[in-house]
Symmetry: C2
Subunit: 124 residues, 2 copies
């Protein structure tokens, strides 16, 4: 897979709630950063955080609106949607990726924390 | 210029405070959106907002850390730095662009509004 395809497959596995499978596409030293929150360094820390968050949702749907790739860099514009029970929450996101030798070494998501908090607040 | 070069030149002109020159690279129906704030539809509205903001700063410096382009889509990861008097404020941004027939038709910046507000608050 080229970097573009690697990111597409990574997202596909996350949305299928196969977070462990997704992180098989990452290097051990991957950095996963939610820019307004914090960064997780290393596959174990990233997997622990994201695995817990994804496990708490009943369903994921992350449509990718646009994706561009040049060399090792991939970026995509998404709406990350999560279903909790009957309720969907969604956040507008852009992801920045670095893929080296077939493995993701950087995944950095940009979004507005206020939008995320407002969405989570609707869950009550 | 291809789409990648068009966006690079657009940023170069903005940073040089040549906002009118920058918008010569945009279609009349360009949409300029700051995702956490609002969208401006059409070149006149976009130019009025950004022109005023840029004119209020003494100096701009927008380093582009990563840029990727596929077809008409360009995305870049930047730190947008503005100097007001002695003080620099900066915001971490990702821009999403669509360039059609050599003209920018979409420029959408994603960032965290809380970071922007905290930076502006340092100006006192």
């Amino acid at each position: 897979m080229n970097p573009d395809e690697t990111v597409t497959e990574f997202i596909r596995r996350i949305v299928a709630k196969d977070v462990e499978g997704a992180f098989e596409l990452c290097a051990d030293h991957v950095v996963y950063e939610n820019v307004p929150i914090t960064a997780y360094e290393g596959k174990a820390a990233a997997l622990e955080f994201l695995g817990g968050f994804v496990a708490g949702a009943d369903e994921l749907d992350w449509p990718v609106h646009r994706q561009a790739a040049t060399g090792s860099v991939v970026m995509n514009e998404r709406t990350d949607r999560f279903r909790f029970g009957e309720k969907w929450v969604e956040v507008k996101v852009v992801g920045v990726w670095e893929v080296e030798d077939g493995s993701i070494v950087l995944w950095r998501d940009y979004f507005d924390m206020a939008e995320m908090n407002a969405q989570l607040a609707t869950l009550g």
